[in-house]
Amino acid sequence: MRVFIEGIGLRGPGLNGWEAGRPVLAGTKTYEPASVTVPPSPLLPANERRRTVLTVKLALAVGAEAFEAAGREIAETATVFTSSGGDGETIHQILETLASADRELSPTRFHNSVHNAPAGYWSIAAGSRAPSSSLCCRDASFAAGLLEAAVQTTVEDRAVALIAYDVCYPEPLNSVRQIGAVFGAALILAPYPTDACFSRLDIELLPESGGARAASSGALDDLRRSSPAARSLPLLEAVARDEPQTLVLDYLPELELRLTLLPLLPDAARGGDSGRRPAVPA
């Protein structure tokens, strides 16, 4: 399958956005982990921002950043959300309430606990009636989401936004499910190269080869292993380095995703006629 990357959003420890994080991912700037700050989404009205939980804030932040880079119409674009779980704090609070004598739940907390809460808030914030999927494949959630987003992009011949996110869990859930970092990444995939596209991505689903799996460099590899959404890092580093590359992403035990990445040169350097189309067809 061949897709074209049109925009990226990124938020993680020491990685405050794609443009700011790019030199770190390219290896030209030292990685310095820092606590993650998720800005309130410009997409949500002020009264809705107050009710949103961290998973929603994170998904909306990286999604909005990727759309801005792509210059694509948010409301018309299908979305694939993927994460290993829901909002840890919300789930913990519900479980504590249910274990107490008074089991009355807060209705807002209940709707925030569903796996597709970010997709729901996204649809409301973006005014989008486009189709949306919310997936989980535990540690392989990023690879599963990338596969689904690329399949939709090619089969339906339309752009798809992939939004991957995972947040830490409080105790005692943290002891049974350790997610070491808040991490979100979004990719806008297009079926053909538009003016905004900067990478061509070929994706193959192959039987596990036993070959080298993708790792990130140094401290970034600790981050990669600490969060399912951060399993996207090898792909993001390859894009940041701006050179042709093949890498293998973890998926399920018997399967791997082989990614072949080719940077797209600016039109001028390729002699003008690239066959590119504008992001929003006239």
Partner: protein, 408 residues
């Protein structure tokens, strides 16, 4: 078959054959028990005895889950949700049919795209009641990954069936196991697999029972879809599985997946758009994907959960699109609202309706809301049914309609 630009599923993607399917609801295990209840108008809803401090509500509880063994290599997966999944896999020759498909295609060429909203959350609810009083730690032996995590049911079913193709679990609230038909169709069209297992499981748990009560949408009596005096949902549990593959000689009698349409409401997290705009869009997209007109549809299997707002919005969407001529009903009075399993249960009841020539009725519904315009069927009856639209709508404004039928 011609299809419009911008519809859900591209050309050559459909149809796919539902070559084998199995289910368990509170009406019983397997197709025969559910078909008999469908014909007889039997409801499986009973006053809840599910928790120590029972809520005043009716539920569709599946009996016998305590006796289901998940052991050996699969022991870590043991929880109510996976027991329900195991019970459904064991019905209707499903496991043998998958084994035969594995011979035909190879294990790596069969995908597993399941849905759940609850997963094994009940396991964690119980574990939270047994935390160490000093440290707060969860009890030893609690396996988060294989029970609570949303992927658990996918991992369990894929392992149980010996499959090695692509997999994930979709969790889009009450639309989830309708949406997986679309995921599977796209994966097959893209050549990622040749066949797929779709469906899923959802079980009763404190989070959904107390959660829906907090929203004031849970009835104290058995739910009465489309009734003037409806007062909310009755929650049920269920599991259902479908083997989807390209039509071939061995599937010539199978009902076909003709179209899938998905949409988002862009309105509210837990209330439907009052004019049913998202619901109508999902049905329109499904019809367009199937290359069908509204006149081609014999029956609409409604989401119809018996909430005041939900039924009114769906009646609006259905009557705006189909007028007042197309028969429709909700099976929630039979099974309860099986939440994350409602999509596949609706699809399987629709398939039974086509195969056995029966229009489903609506147990507990007595007086249809006089403000409604759609043609609601209260009592089941024999009728030829060739093509069905099955609706599933959920939290977050997630909507999905599936078109099932046979070539006539």
């Amino acid at each position: 078959m011609s299809r419009c630009v911008g519809t859900e599923l591209s050309e050559n993607m459909l149809p796919l054959a539902l070559s084998r399917f199995s289910l368990v609801t509170c009406l019983g295990a397997g197709q025969a028990a559910n078909l008999a209840a469908l014909r007889n108008g039997t409801s499986g809803l009973r006053p809840t005895r599910f928790e120590e401090a029972p809520l005043r509500t009716y539920v569709g509880e599946v009996p016998g889950l305590g006796a289901v063994d998940i052991d050996g290599e699969l022991a870590g997966f043991d929880c109510r949700n996976n027991r329900l999944a195991a019970m459904a896999l064991a019905q209707d020759g499903f496991i043998d049919a998958v084994a035969a498909a594995r011979e035909r295609y190879g294990s790596a060429r069969i995908g597993v795209f399941l849905g759940t909203s609850t997963s094994g959350l009940l396991q964690t609810e119980n574990a939270y009641r047994r935390r160490d009083p000093q440290s707060g730690a969860l009890p030893p032996g609690f396996d988060y990954a294989k029970t609570h995590n949303t992927y658990s049911v996918g991992d369990f079913v894929r392992t149980r069936l010996g499959l090695a193709g692509p997999a994930f679990v979709v969790s889009a609230a009450c639309a989830t196991t309708a949406k997986v038909f679309g995921n599977a169709a796209r994966m097959i069209a893209a050549g990622m697999c040749d066949a797929a297992i779709v469906g899923g499981a959802d079980t009763l748990c404190g989070t959904t029972l107390h959660g829906f009560r907090s929203l004031n949408v849970m009835s104290e009596e058995p739910c009465r879809p489309f009734d003037a005096a409806r007062s909310g949902i009755s929650i049920g549990e269920a599991a259902g599985f479908v083997l989807l593959e390209k039509p071939a000689a061995q599937t010539r009698d199978a009902v076909l997946l003709l179209g899938v349409g998905e949409s988002s409401d862009a309105y509210h997290m837990s209330s439907p758009h009052p004019e049913g705009i998202g619901a109508r869009l999902a049905m329109e997209r499904a019809l367009a994907a199937a290359g069908l007109q509204r006149e081609d549809i014999d029956y609409v299997n409604l989401h119809g959960t018996a909430t005041l707002a939900g039924d009114a919005a769906e009646d609006r969407a259905v009557s705006d699109l189909f007028g007042s001529a197309t028969a429709c009903s909700s099976i929630k009075g039979h099974t309860g609202h099986t939440l994350g399993a409602a999509g596949v249960v609706g699809a399987i009841f629709s398939t039974l309706s086509i195969l056995h020539g029966v229009l489903p009725g609506s147990p507990h519904t007595r007086t249809i809301d006089p403000t409604f315009k759609s043609r609601y069927i209260v009592r089941s009856r024999q009728a030829r049914v060739d093509r069905v639209v099955s609706n599933s709508f959920g939290f977050g404004g997630a909507n999905c309609s599936v078109v099932l039928g046979r070539i006539t």
